[in-house]
Symmetry: D2
Subunit: 344 residues, 4 copies
């Protein structure tokens, strides 16, 4: 049974484990103050093209989001997220647990625009309501769509005009930046947003997310927040070594490209058979709408999530590819689908 359920089904890219192996018995300082972490941070700054940013390494996305957002906001301030936003739906109220409301906006494609946010601002008029202060977006979004540079510029401008922080959850940022439709890079991101994170867990690391803080006023005392939230790893180097390995050459991007390429093969194959998709998703998650009988058939060889019922006979499923997905498996998926349809 092959799983397309997510992009964290395997361990780490072998180079990651080798790097951990090689350095294993060296003694280093703890808590992210070791030479590997310092080197990884510097390397990331180079890759982003800025030395005036702060970078902190975390173990997971929820941890990164809750630490950053609670550090950035004052008690009466709230985050804004789309109705599919991970912090809104799938983090067990982690942001609220730090005291902050997450305001939800209903959107079709997972992406926020200035129009959406303007309507929230207009509805929050006085001190009887929370003060919207931070716009949370994911790139790619939770339903696979990605932001274009011009879309992000518009958001960025709007946020700056309205004193809103713009924060990007980059759990799958590699997939977004390596998408064929993408026209941004790290450097663009770093000038357009106030903070973002570069996801490692879903792109070949054992675990690890690199939070990039671009706005000066958000940097102060940040390590206190990391420690307070239980996010400061004693053997911090484990994160440093991994990011060093991912970015010392193009490994990070190559892994993301593989995930995207495998998704493309699936997309093309599924289209050829004649099926359509729930969302336009040029990244490593796709949401084909298939007849229920076909889904049942496929489930005998592949595992994946049922996403939503579309009508009586058809449902959307979610297929996620990853750095570890091999061409043969996606091809066999397409073949199996074609066969099933032919023999139906």
């Amino acid at each position: 049974m092959y799983s397309f359920k997510n992009d964290y089904s395997e361990g780490a890219h072998p180079r990651i484990l080798s790097a951990l192996m090689e350095s294993n018995l060296e003694q280093t300082e703890g808590y992210g103050e070791d030479p590997y972490t310092l080197k990884a941070v510097n390397l990331l700054k180079e890759r982003i093209g800025r030395s005036d940013i702060d970078i902190h390494l975390f173990m997971g996305g929820t941890q990164t989001n809750l630490t950053a957002i609670s550090a950035f906001l004052r008690p009466h301030e709230a985050a804004i997220a789309s109705n599919t936003g991970h912090i809104l739906v799938h983090e067990t109220g982690a942001i609220e647990a730090t005291g902050h409301k997450v305001i939800s906006i209903e959107v079709k494609d997972g992406k926020l625009t200035p129009v959406h946010i303007k309507s929230v601002l207009e509805g929050h008029t006085d001190e009887h309501m929370v003060k919207p202060r931070l716009v949370y977006i994911s790139n790619p979004t939770e339903i696979g769509s990605i932001y274009s540079k011009s879309e992000l510029e518009q958001l960025s401008n709007f946020c700056r005009e309205n004193k809103l922080f713009l924060y990007v959850d980059g759990a799958r940022l590699g997939s977004a930046l390596c998408s064929e439709e993408n026209d941004m890079d790290f450097s663009d991101l770093s000038t357009l947003v106030d903070a973002f994170y570069i996801g490692g867990t879903k792109n070949g690391a054992l675990m690890g997310e690199a939070l990039v803080i671009c706005r000066d006023s958000l940097k102060e005392d940040f390590r206190f927040h990391i420690k307070q939230k239980g996010a400061m790893l004693a053997k911090g180097r484990i994160l440093g070594i991994q990011f060093l390995e991912l970015f010392k050459d193009d490994l990070y991007f190559n892994l993301a490209r593989n995930a995207n390429n495998m998704a493309d093969i699936l997309k093309k194959g599924i289209s050829e058979v004649g099926y359509s998709f729930l969302t336009h998703s040029p990244s490593n998650q796709i949401f084909p709408i298939l007849p229920n009988w076909l889904i049942e058939k496929l489930q005998k060889k592949y595992s994946f999530y049922l996403w939503e019922k579309v009508d009586e006979d058809n449902s959307a499923i979610r297929l996620v590819t990853s750095w570890a997905t091999k061409e043969e498996i996606v091809k066999s998926f397409v073949e199996d689908m074609k066969e099933a349809v032919a023999s139906n």
Copy 2:
């Protein structure tokens, strides 16, 4: 420069890395629902000798403490800790950040007794004060002392009579249980306390602490709290695989024994030279009181923390040994000390 600063200076025991390697490309469920984690949890239950306990794997001690304590307490309830308690001093107010006061008790040897706690209860008389509800102890304590079974029994009885939860921070639990002076095992712990954790990070794992919840009423919905606090690792198996490796034979205890043995060699050597210790510490942290000139000399070859000034000419230092400390290095430390004293 060899470091005696702590027991998380190195990576992981090589068997841990091998185990990660072997399973690396297998696909498993995420978030701690993989077969490795399930197996590790069952193995730990066997080792503890009880099937009616719940076990959850975490990435670090502060994370474990804050998740457990905030899950166990209602908003008006407080924890009690000794003045050296890790949650009181060294977790950046992590417990308070979840809304709970930590009440401090001044003790000499890091250990709490019923007498201490009784005085706290007597001082908390009505609803204008917090309600003390959980007693936090560390075994070994932050200054290396350990609890005897009879001491823990007395605490346990007192807590049960007074409706207090008893919680043990076991960051270095291996060292306590393998101490020559220890007369307890996992099974004793599990019957005497309401929850405790078995520290992996400081005993050979890359990272990892296993929280054991013994009291039924504290088990409900616990995974919600793990997720909410950002402590649910996507590739949860990384923790499962490590605990499986540590406990499939006696690796965990053997590593702890090595740490203790190395500390003993240091202790004996230092005593032979004629120096004494700040605390009685039968575990892997020792606190010799040395003349300042000697400390300076030793610092040229070894790194360690200055713990406190004792008088004008003498200070206590902290030496920590670990699973990775080799006999040759502790012997050379003692030799270097003897030589320095001889040639002074």
Copy 3:
């Protein structure tokens, strides 16, 4: 300029002030343990018809809501409210500030039904999401509608079957219970819900809300929560004296009836002129839809809130009557409206 903006524009009913005057120089215990408060609590229990309930007096609605809800929920549990719910919209994230998400449900008439809540439960399936635990409703709702006994019974049954607490914000409970359409009393409420509060501030008190806790498991240690949230008034008797005065005869209900009657006169008058209403509201808040030119004219003599734009030419306004509203003023409002329309 007469204000229909709200029902807390005036001070207190004169009998309230007289009662404060009479007892003024007596010495009593503080913090709600005085004879007046004890007597008020007992009187309320009699009025409700149950001795097995706990009653606590508060200074305001937000304070009551946040203290109760945060005391009732564990950290991972969430409240459910309609999209007009006061705790969702108009309390500056007070519930979230205590760590809990408020899940919003879009409804037309301000009222929640089992169908609504079922859909929330179905969408919250595992520990990656908060656990819905408390259903928050207002009676009357924020848009003037009220629950019938049978509607509340259905909600109550559904909540009990699904282990949800049912909590009623009764900021204007007097108006609901004295509505012509109402078929419930305090006693019904106390058996159908887990906690509710009887609003005094908006019904003739200087300030004051009486929280009634019906479910045993929610009562324990409640005074700790009151003190912790800054809601324990030193001169607690000020609240006790007021509730004693409101309930020693039918003052509370008579005041609510006056508010409703005045709203009825407005409603009838406005209907006669030919205008309709945004919501069906049998309580003391009404939402007539008027042409903009008429609104502007009325604003010269009366103040009230513009509620929402209905189309280019018409808007809904909110008119609130109170215990202090006099018949002459509502009649003159209707007259002024008729005249304006006639002369248009």
Copy 4:
């Protein structure tokens, strides 16, 4: 039975009730935006001698403390208080419930000095500990002592040099400022500290504390915090009217002077009989040490708190006088004491 238990045993000074009476049926805006509150705020600014301060009215001390301190601090920052500090001991962990540790300093006389605070700063060296950021003092302290201007200047200078906010809990500020030993006024306070509150509840108001924010950076969005903490009174004018009455002439100070004078009579009388005091307390709380037999005798006619056991035969009691205490009663207390001693 006359009570010396506290200074909130009675209602309000009769002028307060009259003022509420007179304005009772006027309609005003809610939530502290009414003309009375605005006028009271301006009057207080005049009395303090500064127009560049912000003033907000609250209903009680715990509410004021928790709202202000949680608004002023970032999540990792902590308050410092003496071991008798009200926020530390008697507010049920209200500050911790907003996420912040309160660091305790053991002092003899309830007062903090730069030496105390310096020792705390020296013990908080890195991000593994909270960051001390706000110094909380009470004037008078919880044990009746008061700060001299020079003591406060030293604290103020130290705090500014070390980027610490200085906050004064003024629950009994009137008594401190009217003490014979006092050499400060409102204006001094406003230049030396970052925020303080002027207590009304314990000096003749029904309830009410006026928070004065002196430091610009602490003012922003403060009303959001008031609302979020449930501290925004719907009929805010009730607070405004009271402060207007207290400060439109010297009522506030006259009431405080009465409390102090009555305490002085007690002190002199008790000294004449030959008894001493637990603390030096030039304000309206005194702590005489009396033989237990005498205490028992006095308890037949007077109620007061036993403060602490001094030795087998003697205990300290707390006697609190207030704006409402009459000369005849304190004289009779002294007489009764003299008689009892004479006839012993």
